[in-house]
Every structure is written in structure tokens, then in C-alpha cells.
Subunit: 769 residues, 2 copies
């Protein structure tokens, strides 16, 4: 167990690391050449087209284009922090969307919850714990850390001082619930306000319908038209079919790859006009006959273009390529709200309607999964997630047993002389077993995302939320419980199955105070240094410069080479929730942990505010749809903390206090249920009151709006409009042939469909799984 | 433990009891005087007005009016059984409603499930168990019952024969799931078909809205009108306010009581015209001055009538008597379906809309409970139910300790000489402690019903379902688990909390085979004899004859004296589910129990079919809304049986088979989830496809229908129309004054509101709790 000095050293190291990252960031972001890495958001929204030089000076020379020579700007290297705070929340919502603004509110919520809790805990509980001083007497026999003197471990069993801890547990619970309630209320209000003040958007009028039954002799389009004309006679407007464009998307990706190679070779030729680049036609360009690269790729692309064209025609014409799903549009928000919230068909597995996600947010591939399949998939994935959470160590241990030095020597005997060198050997022996685990942890989010995709959710936002949920379970079991109770998750599961339900919180509860130092270190490494590395954006920086060097020719290429990224919800949400859990659990037990959490929340808030303002470009806008999950996980943390405190106190023989504590989890569950029914509908359903108010407002302001034209190809697969606008028109015509009864539209009045940036935004990974 | 002979004796006694009941029933039901007790249904639907004499003979004398003298009819005393089976299911639905028909299907489902299971289990498992013969060797030391030789206890640990049991567990699970799926499918179809083929009903067009916000300066009626005219502009028709008629209802009940006394005295006078009956005006008629009874009650009633009139006027006029709830009617089923399924307001706790139950089904009292209060009530009631289930023995033990002989002697010393007589003493000692328990069990359903009422459900049908759920938990814990594991439920809870989760099914599983004989006896006493006593209707018989003797004057009075009752869902559903549980649990363990269950299902089916056809008059029609609960409880039984089998086999050291069995509960849960999403929407929501189809059909058949007039006072509190039709018209006029914007209706085209029998049907217990 670490003493206070050890913690101090660790804190010093981590603060140093964090500062190093911040310093590097401060230096790098001022270089004009990195401007597109650290400020891509401004390029995307179009307010910046070329790097602004750091200071007020307008001097520009060839060096100044790449390196910032204005020394004054280096002096204020931390000024991004106040800058990040300048933007008001309403500006932020306009600038980056509600999702990002609400995401930042989670950190603020952490501060709001933990600042009073920390003060109270430090002022009341630490003196109580210290004054008791059981551990001073024990010191000679046991190695007791200084941290423990400040924790509940220092209070002797049966002490009357536990009343302080119990009353604090009540006060903290009430405070946390109050803050959570206020915040939920606020976020729900912000969501409704945002929806109400939004521009007209296609998804407000559109409903996605799945599991359209195939009727012999009728096309899917005809069925959809007939069904909605019958059942929503005064509200149905038109619909768009969904094409199975798997193969087409594959070709498009091939074309993109070829295009990159062509660019690369043309650039090479431009730089060295004396020598035309050549390539080999065989496998991976390693064998075969030598040909001129530019001609070769140009020809290949032409071939591909004809194939793409024919495939596109086939996809649009072939009735089998139309999937049993459609986007159904209504002539009012009211009509769409009604259709999304009601049951359409006698058979509840057919004609499933739901709000259409906005086009950017759609995960097209999952539109065609039938009902039975979804239910089987969910079963399989939940078993798989359970197995992954509890048994992930088994395959890793297996790989580790293979990847030891003996195994390596057998596979590659020629490496033996190298391996036998002592330094290398000891390095490898320390390194190899960890490698499998590192790789696993690195690919885990991807694996979880694939699992969510298999489950069949329609929107990227939902996929991310579901992935976040899975990741949270993993962290809860393997990071939180796994650190507290020794042994692998599987061993824990085994021992929990053989313990009584009242014994489990006791086992965990007893270990909690002992692990405080570990978690303090964890918070500093993962939280402080991790967040500082987030702002540095090392990976996008390297990739941008590589792309810039090899394939960027035009400004448009440069724009494409930018990778603004977005708030990585599947990873950040579970991490955040883990910190909430740690803070709430340790608030009563070892209050000295709280300041570390506070620093994390404050620092992360600054960093993410900067990133949201300057870097991230959200791929979609889910209008804070993730909030119910954030809320319920914090409530779950509260519940867990109460159970563990109950277990801990029961071992402290504060038995007469136990009944008092039992009331807490019951009240917490009730609070959760109440909030769920009070606020959750605002995140799941669109109230008719709102819908009709917006309809009426629009009708009076734009009485001649041609909604049909506005909605015409909003939900066309993005693949079909990836390149030229010419093609788009063509597709539009095709679509109208497919949609039988749509009258010819008057283009006069039609507002143009919403414009999204060409590359970011769309979810291309159509057949990637 | 009982031997096979003991079981035989018990069976003989119970069969004898059942036959005695049946014989008594056969004799009593043939007497014309009892006709209204055993065939009230026919009087209510109006197809019978006076008793038909048993045989073909039309001879009637004064004796023949009361006693059946046709000896031939006595010979065929069991012919009600084939008679009960004659009616086809579609006739039954027409005759008694879908609820009753589907209720009978539960018994049929029991037969369908258990006939093949019984045959298979007896043919395969019994020989396997017998052939093993472990227990023969043990016989000398232990007392082993013959039943145990046929059960799984007879198979020695680690035997390969457990494969038979495991494969049977799989086959039974698959068969049960298959039957459940088919049945759910069928019932869902029947429900939709019934809804589609139904006559026009007011609840198809009506939605109940709760938590109407009070706006200063506007009445509730104005708010409702404004809100729905804005948000459902093309569909809203009109609404009916809900009056707080608590006090009024109380007066009405007083009047009814007085009326009974008046009738009683008038009848007395008629029979003895020489002596006018007198009564005393004081407390309970025991003291005070003597007055003429008929005059006294007539005068009292007149006084009350004026008070009732003024109270009625006050209720209708006073704006404070209007509750923040309303029945909102739409001009089409589509409009009502949309409103019931969507969210209306930004604040999800206001303007809560839901399908209106049919007027007969409404529990008026709960209409005014606000949202927060409901959520608090639910918390309190769930804690109360938990306490009731696990700690109900504590108050009973307390009462028992008071109600022993010593206590009695102290309270009433003058009883001492009587108590000291030995026979009486031993009788009392055996009787008194059980008395408290008996009384508790008798009032338990009422207590649970009150709890459900406190929870705030709107419809009587829902109240009954929720009561059934609570009763089921009570039976599961106290009858099923309580019989298997010794000790009170509280002791069980305590020991379960201190056992590991894997140990619990083992503890219970081991005891299961040993309790088979107990449950066989239980089935015979509670099932066989209990059902036979159901058909005898002893309580209604006695009450009817008492009423007939003292207060019945006119035919209408006689009609009122009939108490047809209805299927008592809160008690029969949990009982049924307990039998399903027993059958499924013992199918693999002790198959010899199954024939007893089969007899129960077959016999109960016959009895209830007879009762449904001839006796019961349902108070409401919920269109089989209870089926999802029946289904899910049978699935839960399956799940419990699998866990217990797992526990049992793990003690038998058939350890290598355990993993195979783990798959079963997982698949069962999945099956449950699948069925829930596949079928449950049909029971919760009204598909728009159905709604609009019915709208269109009606429009073409009755284009001039005046819907507004049809709906005008459908949801008037039944209290307001309890007596004379004259009053009804008056109220109707009042209502129109209250509902500001309703245009004067043309009565020309108005179809009359649906006619329900005057007394049964309505739920009068307005302020009874």
C-alpha cells in the first residue's frame, strides 16, 4: 500500500506528463501547417479556408507558411483554456450541436455533484476518521498506509462515529438525486427547445418502416403506397424505397482506392517531371509486367466506372434489390409523429414504424433484417457479451501461453541468437504476455461495435450508445470489481455464485478502502494524462501529414485529408461513468480520493470544450438522446455504492445502523423509476403538441412550400450521390419512375435538400461488418 | 410420508366429497325455487323469466312451483356435464363474452400441455425410475414411500439414466413452449377478431385523459376543449367531464338501505295486515320512541331524496367538483387510436392519454390521482406487498398468542366453567390458533384488492389482474416454496439471503421429490373438492333465499336479489398458475403427480364451462387482456422448474450434465422475450389498420350516423343515472350546459346508448376502499 508520499510522487509524475502533452500541443497547434489538424471545425463550417498566422502580424514568407515565427504567441501557451470557456452555451449549441453541448454538461454535472460533496466529506468525515485512530495502534503489526488513516478503516468497529458516515450517505444521496433531477429536467427542456427551434429537417416528416411484407404480384413500393394511403389517408405524402447497394458500395470503395493511387502517381510525376512513374500489374505490384502508372490507373478507373454505372442501373431497376423497408414521408410533422408512435398492423412484427434517424445517422446495412432474425441476434449477442465480460481472459491466456519465448523460438529458430541476449530476453519476457492484453483492449471497442451492429440497430447514434453500454459493463466488472476483488472476472463470477447474496457486498465492501490508493493512481494515469493526450491528437496529426505528403493535390483533397473526428461516445461515456462510480463509492469511504476526481472533471471539461469548439465534427445530431443512459448509470452507481457501504458497515458490526441504510437503495430505485416516467418520454417520443405547433407556424410563414420536392431524395442511399451532381439528377429521375404514383414535381418552389459536408457525415461502411 | 395406499384412501375420500357436492348440486339445481341461483345468466340475458320445470311435463301445482316432482329428471343427475360441452366456442363468445371463453381455454391449454406430457412421463420415466431401485436397498433404514420408488429419488447418483430425465426436460420444454406459442397466437387472433366484429361501442371512440393541468381563469372543460381542438383538429369531437361524486354516492347508498327496510316492512305488513310494523327511532332501532315503520322509512326517504337532489345539483354546478380528468371522444376510431397511443404534451406527466375502459369497467374513484402521487403509491404498495408476502406470519402469530385459552379466560372470566370442560377445551385449543390464519386467508384477496386500488389503476379489469399478480406471489412463496422448504416465509427469506445463489435451487430441488405426496393431497383437497364446491354456490343460494324471504316484493326485486357473480379472476388465475407450476415442476421429478393435475384440469374445465354458460355474468369485457399474464406466469413456472431440476441434478452428482441444462433457462427467457414482442402489442395497442378498416365500413353502412349524440353521456358517472329515466334526461341537459361548445344535438338520428343491465355491471363502490 502506498503512503501519502508515494501518491505525491505519482501525482507529480502524472502532472508532469500532462504538462508535457499540453506543452507539445501548445507548440504544435500554433504552426500553420498543423492548423487543419487542430482547428478542422472552422474549415468545415467554412469560416476559415487557410491558416491564420498566430499573432496579429500579417507577414507571410515561405517558412511562415509552415512554421509560426511569431515568438509572442508562444508565451501564452495556455490561453486555449480561457478561450475554450468564452463561448456561451447557446453559441456552442449553434456551433457544434446539442449532442456536444450536452456531452460537456456531463462534466459540469460531475463538478456540480462533487464540489459540495468533496468539501463536506473533507471537512466532516476526514476529521472523524483521523480522530478515531484505531490504525495508529495497529501500526506495528500491519503496514498501514497514510491514506487509510483518513478513510473509514480507521474507525473502530461498533463505534458511534458511524452515524456521521450514515448521515453523510443520506446527504450525498439526496444531493446527487437533486442534481440529477435538475439536470435531467434541464436537458429534457434543452432537447425540446432545440427540436422546436430547429430548421425544417427531413427527418421531422419521415418515418422508417421495416418488415414490409412481400405480397405476390406487387412490388414493395406498391405495397407501401397502398398501405399508407389506406391507413394514413390525409397525412401520407410519399415514400422512398431502400436499395440493397452492397455490391455498388464495394465498387465505389474500389474506385476511391484507385483514385488515391492515381493522385499519388500524378503528384509524383509533377514533382519529378523527368520520370514517369511505373508500376507492376501483378500481385501487390511486386511482379508482372511494368506499365506506366498514370495510364494504368486511369484505364482501370475507366473500366471500373462502366462497371459502376451498370451496377447502379441494375440496383435501381432490379426489383429484388429493393429491400422490404422504406422511408415514408408525411405532409406534416403531426402525421409523422402519429405514425412513428402507433402500431400499424395487426401483426406486430410487420410494418414496424419508428422515427427515421437523420440521413447522416443511418446505418443502412441493418434496414433489411427481419423481425425473427433480430430477436435471435439479440439472444446470441447478449450471450456473447456475457462471455466476453466474464471469460475474456481465457483466450488471452491461451495466446499468452503460445506467445512466450519458447514458442517464438520454435516458430522462428533463426531468431534464437537474438532472443538469447539477456537484455532482449528479459524485455520480451516482460513485454510479450502483456502484448496480447494490450491488443485486446485496443480492439475491444471495435469488437463491441461490431456486436452492436449485428444486433441490428438502425442508427449510428444508437449503435454508439449500445456499444457504450457494453463497454460500461466490461469496465464495471473488469476494472472496478476486478481491481477490488482479486482474480479474473471468471473467478469472481465463480465465487459470487457460491456466496450468499448478502455476502457479496460485504466481500467487496471490505476491500474498497484498501484499493483507494490504486484508484487514485488510476485516475491520474488514465484520467489526467489520458485527457492531456487527447488534446494532442497524435494519430490524426501523423495521418494528416502523411496524406498531405503523398496524395493531396487540390484544396478539396486537403479537406478530405482532414480527420476532425468526433466525441467518441462509446469510449468516453463509460469512462465518465466509471469516474462517477468511483467518486460516489469513495465519497463516504475514503474522501481523500474526491479531489483527484474533481481535477479530472475540471480538466476534462476544459479539454473537451476546446475540442468540441475547434476540432470535432459530429457525424450526426441525436439531440441528446444519450442522456437517459448517462442518468441511469449514475443512479446505478449510487445504488452500487449504497450496497457496498451496507456490506462494509455490516462487517464493522455497526449492525443497528443497517436497517437505516436499507431504505437508501429502495429510495434510489424509486427515484430512478420516477425520473424514467417523468422525463424519458421526452427522449423517446415527439409530443403532438410540439409537432402541431411547428406545423402551424410553418404553414403561416411558408404557405406555398412544396414539401414533396423538399423530401424527394433526402433518404437516397448516400452512395448514389457520392460523386457528381449530374448523376444525382439522373438518380432522382430513376427514383420517380420507381415511385409509381408520385405526380411530376414542380421544381420551382422546391428548397434544396439540406447540405451536408461531402465526406464527413455519411456512413459509408455499408458492407463492412 | 404416505404410501400408495394412503394416497388411495385420500383420493377415495376426496372423490367422495366431490361426489357429495355434485349430488347436492344435481338435486338443488332441479328445484324451480333455486332456478335463479343456478341459472341466473338466462334471466339476465332475458331468455328466461320464470323457472322451467325439469322434465317435459307442464303440470304445475303450488308445490311444483318450489320443488321438482318429476322423478325422471333425478336419474340423469350428471347430465349437466355433456350439456356444458354442447355450446360451441363461437356461441360461447356470443353468450358470455371473450373473457370467459378465453378463461376456459386456460383449462384446455392445461389439458393440451399435460396429456402428452403425462403419457410420455409415465411410459418413459416411471419404468426408468423403478428399474433403478436404489431405494429398495435403503428400505430397511429409512421409511421410503412407494411414491418415491416412482420418482427420480430412486435413481442412484451418477447414474447414466439421468440422460432420460434431461432429454425429457428438453422435450417437455419444447412441447410446452410450442403449445404456449400456438395458444398465444390463437388468443391474439381471437382478440383482434372480436374487436373487429364488435358492435359500435363508446370506448372505441373515447380516450381517457388524466392530469389535466388547471389553468387560472379557465375551467377544466375549457382547457380540455382547447387542447384537443388544437392538437387533434380534424378528429376531436367532444368530451365529458368527470365529477367528484363521492358524497352523492354515499347518499345513494343510504337511500338504497332505507329502501330495503321499507320493502321489508311493507312485506311484513302485507303478510300480517292486522298489525302495522313499528320501529324505534334511536340507536340501531333498540331505543327511542316507537313509530310506524312504513311511515317512518317513507318520510326518511323523502328527506333523503331532497338532500340527494340538492347534492346532485351542487356536484354538477360546482366547478370544484369537476376533476382534472376527462373522457375525450373522437369522430373516428382512428383518431381515438392515435390519441391513445401518442404522447400529447411536452411534460409527460400532464395530459396522460390512454384507452378509456368501457363504462362498466371503470373504477371512477381513481380518475383524479395526480402523477406524483401514483408513483409514491406504487412504491408504498410494493413495499407493503413484499412485507405481506414475507412477514404475514408475524401479526398472525401475535394474534394467536393473544387468542389462546388463557387470554380468553382473562378477558371473559365468566366463560371459565365452559372452557374447562375437557372436550370443549381440546376443541378450542385445536381451533383457536388456526382461526386467525383462516380469517387472514379469507380476507387476503380483499386486502390485495384494496392495495391495487390504492395503486391507482383506472379499470376494474386492471385492478383484478394486479390483485391476481399479488396473490400469485403470495401463493408462490407461501404455498409452493413454503411447503417445500420448512419454516415461515420470513425464515426462508433469511436463509436464502445467507445462501449462495447456486445453493438455493439445490436446497429446494432436493426437497421437491419428498413433497410430492403432500402436493397430491393438496391437489385433491383444494382442486377436486374445491371445484366441486364451486358449482354448489352455497353462499349465493343462502343469500338469495334470505333476500327472497324478507325484501323481495316485485319481479324486479327478485332480479336484484340474484347474485350471478363472475369468474373470480383474482383468485382463480393464481390457483390455476399454481397447478401449472406443480405440473411442470413434477413432470420430470415425480411423474405420478401428473394424472391428479389432469383430473383437476378436466373437472375444472367442465365445472367452469357450466358456470360460465348458466351462472356468471361478467361485469366487464376486457377482451382477453389477461392473457399476457397467464402466458408469462406459465413461462415463469417453466423457468422455475428448470432451475430446480438443475439444483436437484447437481446434488445427484450428474455434474457433467449440468451445462446441458443451463441452456434451457436461457432459451426459455428468450422465448418469453420473443413472445412478448411478437404478441403483446396486440393486447396493449389498437392497430391503426384495424381502426381505419372499421371506420370505413361503418361510414359506408351508416353514412348519417350522429356520433356526437351516440357518445353524449356514455361516460356519465353511473350514480347519476341510477334510478329513473326522468332524472337521466335532466342530467343530460345539465351536462350540455357544462360542456360549453357542444351544439344542440338532434335526437332524431341518435342511436340509443348501449343498454347494460341496471344493477350488475356498474361499479358502485365509489368511496368504498
Amino acid at each position: 500500500m502506498a503512503s501519502l508520499e508515494d501518491i505525491g510522487v505519482s501525482a507529480f509524475i502524472n502532472i508532469l506528463t500532462a504538462f508535457a502533452f499540453l506543452l507539445a500541443f501548445a507548440l504544435l497547434r500554433l504552426q500553420p501547417i498543423n492548423d487543419r489538424v487542430y482547428f478542422p471545425k472552422w474549415y468545415i463550417i467554412g469560416s476559415r479556408t487557410s491558416p491564420i498566422s498566430g499573432g496579429g502580424g500579417g507577414r507571410r514568407n515561405i517558412v511562415g507558411k509552415f512554421v509560426n515565427l511569431n515568438w509572442k504567441t508562444y508565451l501564452t501557451f495556455l490561453n486555449w483554456m480561457p478561450q475554450a470557456l468564452q463561448m456561451s452555451e447557446s453559441q456552442l449549441i449553434q456551433h457544434a450541436g446539442l449532442d456536444s453541448a450536452v456531452f460537456l454538461r456531463i462534466y459540469l454535472l460531475g463538478l456540480k455533484i462533487f464540489v459540495p460533496v468533496t468539501i463536506l466529506a473533507l471537512v466532516v468525515l476526514v476529521p472523524v476518521n483521523v480522530s478515531e485512530g484505531t490504525l495508529f495502534f495497529l501500526r506495528k503489526e500491519l503496514v498501514i498506509s497514510d491514506i487509510d488513516k483518513l478513510s473509514i478503516s480507521n474507525v473502530r468497529p461498533k463505534s458511534q462515529k458511524f452515524w456521521f458516515h450514515i448521515s453523510m450517505a443520506y446527504m450525498f444521496t439526496i444531493w446527487i438525486c437533486y442534481m440529477l433531477y435538475k439536470e435531467y429536467d434541464r436537458v429534457a427542456f434543452m432537447r425540446l427547445h432545440y427540436l422546436a427551434s430547429q430548421q425544417r429537417r427531413v427527418d421531422q416528416f419521415t418515418v422508417v418502416v421495416r418488415n414490409v411484407p412481400r405480397v405476390a404480384g406487387h412490388s414493395i413500393s406498391e405495397s407501401v403506397d397502398h398501405f399508407f394511403q389506406t391507413n394514413h389517408p390525409n397525412h401520407y405524402l410519399c415514400h422512398q424505397a431502400v436499395y440493397n447497394a452492397n455490391k455498388f458500395a464495394k465498387l465505389i470503395r474500389q474506385r476511391e482506392r484507385l483514385h488515391n493511387w492515381l493522385d499519388y502517381n500524378q503528384l509524383k510525376f509533377e514533382r519529378h517531371p523527368d520520370k514517369r512513374p511505373t508500376t507492376k500489374t501483378g500481385f501487390l505490384g511486386l511482379c508482372g509486367s511494368k506499365v506506366d502508372s498514370i495510364d494504368f490507373y486511369k484505364q482501370k478507373m475507366q473500366e471500373l466506372d462502366t462497371r459502376i454505372e451498370s451496377e447502379r442501373q441494375r440496383t435501381l431497376k432490379d426489383s429484388k434489390a429493393i429491400m422490404p423497408a422504406a422511408f415514408v414521408s408525411f405532409n406534416s410533422r403531426w402525421g409523422a409523429a402519429v405514425c412513428a408512435q402507433t402500431q400499424q398492423s395487426k401483426n406486430p412484427t410487420l410494418w414496424l414504424t419508428d422515427w427515421a434517424p437523420e440521413p447522416r445517422d443511418l446505418y443502412w446495412r441493418n434496414l433489411a433484417i427481419p423481425f425473427v432474425s433480430i430477436s435471435v441476434r439479440k439472444l446470441i449477442i447478449s450471450i456473447a457479451v456475457f462471455a466476453l465480460v466474464f471469460f475474456y481472459m481465457i483466450p488471452i491466456a491461451f495466446v499468452q501461453s503460445l506467445a512466450n519465448l519458447d514458442g517464438l523460438e520454435k516458430v522462428a529458430p533463426y531468431l534464437r541468437p537474438v532472443i538469447e541476449i539477456k537484455v532482449i530476453k528479459s524485455f520480451l519476457q516482460g513485454f510479450l504476455p502483456g502484448l496480447a492484453l494490450k491488443i485486446f483492449m485496443y480492439i475491444l471497442p471495435t469488437v463491441l461495435m461490431i456486436m452492436s451492429k449485428v444486433e441490428g440497430y438502425l442508427a449510428v447514434s444508437v449503435l454508439e450508445r449500445k456499444t457504450a453500454a457494453k463497454y460500461y459493463y466490461f469496465m464495471l466488472v473488469n476494472v472496478f470489481l476486478g481491481s477490488i476483488v482479486t482474480g479474473t472476472a471468471f473467478e469472481q463470477l465463480h465465487s459470487f455464485l457460491h456466496q450468499s447474496p448478502t455476502q457479496i457486498p460485504r466481500t467487496i465492501g471490505v476491500s474498497i478502502p484498501m484499493k483507494a490508493t490504486f484508484f487514485i493512481t488510476y485516475i491520474m494515469v488514465d484520467g489526467w494524462a489520458g485527457i492531456a493526450s487527447e488534446i494532442l491528437r497524435l494519430k490524426p496529426l501523423v495521418i494528416f501529414h502523411l496524406k498531405n505528403m503523398f496524395i493531396v493535390k487540390t484544396d478539396r483533397d486537403r479537406e478530405r485529408a482532414m480527420d476532425p473526428g468526433s466525441v467518441d461516445l462509446p469510449e468516453t461515456l463509460p469512462t465518465l461513468q466509471l469516474y462517477f462510480l468511483l467518486g460516489i463509492v469513495y465519497a463516504v469511504v475514503t474522501p481523500i480520493l474526491l479531489p483527484f476526481i474533481l481535477v479530472f472533471f475540471a480538466f476534462a471539461y476544459l479539454v473537451y470544450r476546446h475540442q468540441v469548439i475547434n476540432v470535432y465534427c459530429q457525424r450526426y445530431e441525436s439531440v441528446a438522446a444519450f442522456w437517459p443512459f448517462v442518468h441511469s448509470r449514475i443512479v446505478a452507481s449510487l445504488f452500487i455504492s449504497q450496497l457496498l457501504l451496507l456490506g462494509l458497515l455490516s462487517t464493522k458490526k455497526a449492525a443497528n445502523t443497517t436497517p437505516l441504510l436499507v431504505a437508501l437503495p429502495i429510495l434510489t430505485i424509486w427515484f430512478h423509476k420516477y425520473c424514467k416516467s417523468r422525463f424519458e418520454p421526452a427522449f423517446r417520443k415527439y409530443p403532438l403538441e410540439e409537432a402541431i405547433a411547428k406545423d402551424i407556424m410553418e404553414n403561416s410563414s411558408e404557405p406555398n412550400l412544396n414539401l414533396r420536392a423538399y423530401l424527394a431524395d433526402a433518404y437516397l442511399h448516400p452512395i448514389f450521390r457520392s460523386f457528381e451532381e449530374v448523376e444525382l439528377v439522373e438518380v432522382r429521375v430513376d427514383k420517380h419512375q420507381a415511385c409509381v404514383d408520385t405526380p411530376p414535381m414542380s421544381e420551382v418552389n422546391s428548397p434544396s435538400p439540406p447540405h451536408y459536408p461531402p465526406y464527413y457525415g455519411y456512413n459509408y461502411d455499408y458492407d463492412e461488418h
